[in-house]
């Protein structure tokens, strides 16, 4: 597996359909999951972050995987791989889900939307090849798996996103959080969901790659909209308390340890009509009924020093309690914010713990998440 994990120096980075536009806008491009992606534009991460919280920010997330599951058995088949209720997901509704492994860990997290004649999945860029293989191997005989590499994905996020997007097509304003539908935008047939990963109101727009630049330009022409890169996307989702796969959740974390119990519907839990039946169900059900020994918590630093991924968290005596999985200085909250897995007896709200940074013990407090209130349009 190490060969797959090592970046292949001679493999050229993939480009999204917006690559030339990013360069034109002055983006700083970095390698991410095999793609050249904009980490920031000339405004910088802080300005892009704030613009998203106050106005509207346009993100290119075309590196993410878009996959259709087609056929009558698709919903039942997908329930074989995720602990979510997919069968009862109504047309036009979207749901957060995750692929589990036999040990009850997480292979990836994803969004599932039921469209008229198929299920539409959005998965993480770094996992999409493995996810597609996982789907093909396990449920390829029960439904048709159609990757959509020719489609771009744009995220328009922020309190004024609806204002800007409604100028292109007023009907998008009828969507509520976690619903989606087909809309014509800048001459392109798009599938739009009212969702995102910033904690703000906003939309994710699946658009044919050939028309993505025209749509992006039409959005950037709106007075509320400015481009934002992966740097701001990361600080926004962290303040919103949302997990980043490969950092806050991975193959070794169970969804219960990760605090994602809310995402497992009752019908799939012990006692539910369709309980179990997904990989690792015995482990996850054990965590649900017996509890867990570690859990993901939010931490706020009491000093101004950023506390980053990998930092050890200790008690007042220096005994290890856990490790930070994501952390930065929150640009909206103006405090160091982090996520960490802590032993449950130290994971209570308001408990004080210490981050070991450069030989110093910095006090932090276990805090509720999100760090900034979600402002979804429900």
């Amino acid at each position: 597996m190490s060969a797959d994990a090592t970046p292949l120096l001679h493999t050229p980075l993939l480009h999204t359909p917006l690559h030339a536009l990013h360069l034109e806008l002055g983006a700083k491009m970095v390698p991410f999951a095999g793609y050249a992606m904009p980490v920031q534009y000339p405004a910088g991460i802080l300005a892009e972050h704030r613009h998203c919280r106050h106005e509207a920010a346009l993100f290119d997330v075309s590196h993410m995987g878009q996959i259709q599951l087609r056929g009558d058995g698709a919903a039942a088949a997908l329930e074989h791989l995720v602990p979510q209720d997919i069968i009862d997901l109504a047309q036009g509704k979207q749901r957060y889900a995750f692929f589990t492994n036999a040990q009850g860990g997480l292979l990836d997290d994803l969004m599932v939307t039921r469209r008229a004649d198929h299920l539409f999945l959005v998965v993480n860029a770094g996992c999409k090849a493995d996810d597609t293989q996982h789907l093909a191997t396990n449920i390829g005989h029960r439904c048709t798996i159609v990757p959509m590499p020719e489609h771009a994905l744009l995220a328009l996020q922020g309190p004024k996103a609806v204002l800007a997007l409604a100028r292109l097509n007023p009907a998008v304003a009828t969507l509520s959080f976690m619903t989606g539908g087909d809309f014509e935008l800048a001459g392109a047939h798009c599938f739009v969901t009212r969702s995102g990963y910033t904690g703000e109101d906003g939309f994710e727009i699946s658009v044919p790659g050939a028309q993505a630049v025209a749509l992006a330009r039409a959005l950037l022409a709106q007075p509320e909209v400015k481009p934002a890169g992966l740097g701001a996307r990361d600080t926004l989702r962290l303040e919103a308390g949302l997990c980043l796969y490969g950092h806050d959740i991975d193959t070794r974390t169970s969804p219960i340890e990760a605090g994602l119990t809310w995402a497992i519907q009752k019908v799939r839990r012990p006692g539910g009509a369709r309980a179990g039946g997904y990989p690792g169900a015995n482990v996850i059900e054990g965590h649900l009924t017996m509890g867990v020994s570690v859990k993901r918590v939010g931490l706020v630093g009491l000093e101004k020093v950023p506390v980053r991924e990998g930092t050890a968290i200790v008690d007042a005596h220096g005994s290890p309690l856990g490790r930070v999985t994501s952390g930065t200085l929150g640009p909206t909250v103006h405090e160091p914010v982090a996520m960490a897995y802590l032993a449950v007896n130290h994971a209570g709200l308001q408990q004080e713990v210490y981050a070991e940074v450069r030989g110093k013990r910095l006090p932090m407090r276990v805090s509720p998440m999100p760090f900034t209130p979600h402002r979804y349009h429900r």
Partner: protein, 124 residues
């Protein structure tokens, strides 16, 4: 010429040998992005050339500040501690990090002059 540069992208201005000024370069601040925190050295402490004398952190990353020459720290920029964004807006001026009493001027002489540093940047 009183300003020289290190390969680690610090600058040092030795106009006053008892209070030479040290900061990070325009290139360094651009590579880091928005600076949100600085850890400054202890006033009165002596450091050897190449020793870690501070830390500069942006939203994305943390980087060490290395002592460009042997010397004793005589002052740190409290305004920078309060407003780390000065390292972005005026890295060669108001965004300076600390001042030091230079112990060995031959180490200063061996650092890069501005054209030498420009040549280094072209190789990056």
């Amino acid at each position: 010429m009183t300003t020289k540069f290190t390969a680690d992208h610090e600058w040092i201005d030795i106009e006053h040998q008892d209070a030479a000024v040290v900061g990070i370069t325009l290139h360094a601040q651009d590579a880091l992005g928005d600076v949100v925190y600085v850890d400054l050295p202890e006033v009165g402490r002596s450091y050897a050339q190449g020793e870690v004398a501070g830390v500069v952190e942006s939203v994305k990353a943390a980087a060490d500040i290395y002592m460009p020459v042997n010397g004793e720290v005589v002052e740190v920029n409290e305004a920078l501690r309060e407003n780390p964004a000065l390292a972005n807006s005026d890295p060669m001026g108001a965004g300076w990090f600390f001042k030091l009493k230079v112990a060995d001027t031959t180490q200063f002489d061996a650092l890069m002059d501005p054209p030498g540093y420009d040549d280094l940047l072209k190789t990056l």
